[in-house]
């Protein structure tokens, strides 16, 4: 159990090049599960490997339980890691795999066996203890990898995309199991994924990374409701938030000839900018009758309908501007089809407004 702190931690692979992780500041509270999420190449794995001691920390520091670990070798950091491809030892049985970290720490045989048995029970691996990893399914291998981390009873768990090799159904199941187990063991955990759904469902807090830089570090609801910039806004949520560059008008912005008023504080913060990036989540559109007056509703033409049963998503382009596309959530069993006209109005209370140049949230 420990607090993990990244303090301006950087990793520069090639001198002179852009850092893979750029002055990362992050505090993982004791017992929390923090998810690092971001697109591929954003530096998530690198950050995790810096914490694991598998990459050097070129600048700044990383602390585990108050101890600066910059010069501490991996094995002395009291961490356990689950790798993307599990990294099981192929020549060892499941039991030997799980006992390996204990053996390396000189624990005696009986205690090793005892701990492995407990972990195996918890993970439902008891009947596979004598098998080699080759004879296990993907899900079982994943659990062995988890088991090898658990038996250690480390201060911190590190997981690098541990679910990416599982099929969709297994992934959802295992996701819940990991979150539940982490809750029970109360071990601080840093979890890396590129999947924002995993991030939102598992994380006590979520750190969004892009280009090696921390974009926002917040709880999942906060991330969803108040994204700090246009990148986070577009990255979190599925389907993604509509991000539209709109010209200013007297009281707000205009979209497809319709005046969208902005709240006082926002328009104050927007100052004299003549263009703003407006973010509207698919569920924040109101579907109106197509007969409505075109000065109050935005007219659009449907391109694709995704019917999900309980709801549907309409992908449409604006009637008078075919280059602007929007995604609108509708009710299930919606009647519209390809080519049908629809009329929508954004919910004015749910707008996200960003600077069109920097992408920073206003205000």
């Amino acid at each position: 159990m420990a607090e993990v702190v990244f303090d301006q931690a950087s990793r520069i692979y090639t001198p002179g090049a852009k850092p893979a992780v750029d002055r990362l500041d992050l505090t993982v509270a004791d017992g929390d599960l923090v998810v690092l999420v971001g697109p591929s190449g954003s530096g998530k794995s690198t950050a995790l490997r810096m914490l694991a001691g598998l990459e050097p920390i070129d600048a700044g520091s990383v602390r585990i339980d108050g101890r600066d670990v910059v010069d501490v070798p991996s094995k002395d950091r009291d961490i356990a890691m689950v790798f993307q491809n599990y990294a099981l030892y192929p020549s060892k049985t499941v039991a030997e795999n799980m006992a390996f970290p204990l053996k390396m720490r000189g624990m005696d045989k009986d205690e090793r066996a005892q701990r492995v048995r407990q972990a195996a029970e918890m993970l439902g691996l008891t009947e596979y203890l004598d098998r080699k990893p080759k004879a296990l399914s993907g899900g079982q291998r994943q659990r062995v990898a988890m088991g090898r981390a658990i038996v250690r009873e480390p201060q911190v768990f590190l997981m690098d995309e541990p679910l990416s090799n599982l099929d969709a159904k297994m992934r959802v199941q295992t996701r819940a199991q990991i979150a539940e187990m982490q809750n029970r063991l109360e071990v601080s955990t840093v979890y890396v994924t590129h999947d924002q759904v995993e991030a939102m469902t598992m994380g006590d807090k979520v750190a969004v990374l892009a280009n090696g830089q921390l974009q926002q570090y917040a709880t999942p609801p906060e991330l969803y409701d108040r994204p700090k910039n246009a990148f986070v806004a577009g990255f979190i949520g599925s389907p993604a938030m509509n991000l539209l560059d709109l010209p200013r008008s007297s009281s707000g912005v205009t979209l497809g000839g319709v005046e969208i008023p902005l709240p006082r504080d926002v328009s104050d913060a927007a100052g004299s900018r003549d263009k703003l990036t407006i973010g509207i989540r698919p569920e924040d559109w109101v579907l109106e009758s197509t007969d409505a007056d075109s000065s109050t509703v935005v007219k659009a033409v449907v391109d694709v309908v995704e019917e999900l049963g309980s709801e549907s998503y309409l992908y449409a382009h604006l009637a008078d501007d075919t280059s602007t596309s929007v995604v609108v959530r509708g009710p299930g069993r919606v009647k519209v089809r390809f080519g049908d006209p629809i009329a929508v109005r954004p919910n004015p209370d749910a707008l996200h407004v960003f600077d069109a140049e920097t992408g920073e949230r206003l205000p």
Binding site: A52, P73, M81, P90, F100, P101, K134
Partner: protein, 314 residues
């Protein structure tokens, strides 16, 4: 890595079993290989059958017209021949000794080359060269340049330590031949094992680091089991080549003194072409083939089983 790949649902092309190939199609595909097959049979199996036939004859080239059918008496003579037994033992020592020492040295060099250091490319090239030298040239090099009692480099180097008088080749004939063989085969083992080391998944090594394994534990518990197949391959290939080795023996010692450094191929050659005893040497050839087959099928398998068992228990 491979483990997880195997696990994924079968790719479509593997999905529905192998389509049955009809006979004509089978011929069309494999027919072109037939000439090669026939040629192989002619040059390997027919001589073998002739050898079998000769081995049942008493036939010495020095006494023309002496050829007669004697059943298995040649075989009896082979097993009664104490020199044959010495030579057989020499062969085992020479082959397995050279192969195993070459594997160990090759492994050490491969571990060295698997690290990053300045000039690694040049070092690797230099280490490979012994393997590229013609065996006869290599044997001459060892016999004259290195081991010659008066002109050899080894005695030259040893002079300050008072070891200059050694007649390496006559005092240690078997060891001298083996030294040349090991020198030549170590690079092969090194290359093979280096390929093995480089195919080791890095995430396993990283997992071991996080799990707290020392360098030695990592080597013993992970690297060595991973290299097992490469080591096996090296031992099998090396044994196949070295059991037949002739050049070094012929060039360096002529099997002597006596038969102290002779191996079976050389001894058979001596019997056939210096002693002209065709029947006897044919019988020896047959015995050697049978022994080699037994060795290949049982001894090697046994070695590997105990080897892998040891790994599992670790």
């Amino acid at each position: 890595m491979t483990a997880t790949l195997e696990e994924r649902p079968a790719a479509p092309e593997n999905a529905g079993g192998k389509p049955a190939i009809d006979k004509a199609e089978g011929w069309r595909r494999r027919g072109p290989l037939l000439p090669a097959l026939i040629f192989t049979i002619i040059v390997t199996q027919i001589p073998f059958i002739l050898t079998l036939y000769y081995s049942l004859q008493s036939w010495n080239l020095v006494r023309p017209g002496s050829q007669e059918f004697v059943w298995f008496s040649n075989y009896g003579d082979v097993f009664a021949d104490s020199q044959f037994r010495t030579v057989a033992l020499n062969t085992v020592i020479m082959t397995l000794g050279s192969v195993l020492i070459a594997v160990v040295l090759g492994l050490l060099l491969a571990l060295l080359l698997n690290r990053q250091f300045a000039g690694r490319g040049i070092v690797r090239t230099l280490l490979i060269t012994p393997f590229l030298i013609t065996p006869v040239a290599a044997a001459l090099l060892w016999k004259t340049v290195l081991l010659d009692p008066t002109l050899g480099l080894i005695n030259f180097v040893l002079t300050p330590f008072g070891g200059s008088g050694t007649e390496w080749i006559s005092q240690f004939p078997l060891a001298s031949v083996m030294a040349a063989l090991i020198w030549q085969w170590t690079p092969f083992m090194m290359l093979l094992l280096l390929a093995g080391l480089q195919s080791m998944p890095t995430d396993q090594l990283e997992a071991a680091r996080v799990d707290g394994a020392s360098a030695w534990s990592t080597f013993r518990e992970l690297t060595l089991p991973h290299l097992r197949r490469f080591i096996e391959l090296g031992v099998v290939l090396g044994t196949i080549y070295l059991v037949n080795i002739f050049d070094q023996v012929y060039m360096m010692t002529q099997g002597g003194p006596g038969v102290a450094s002779a191996n079976l191929p050389f001894y058979i050659y001596q019997r056939a072409f210096l002693g002209f005893d065709i029947g006897q040497s044919a019988a020896m050839g047959v015995v050697v083939v049978i022994l080699t087959l037994i060795a290949a099928n049982f001894a090697l398998r046994l070695i590997f089983r105990s080897f892998s068992g040891e790994q599992e228990a670790a």
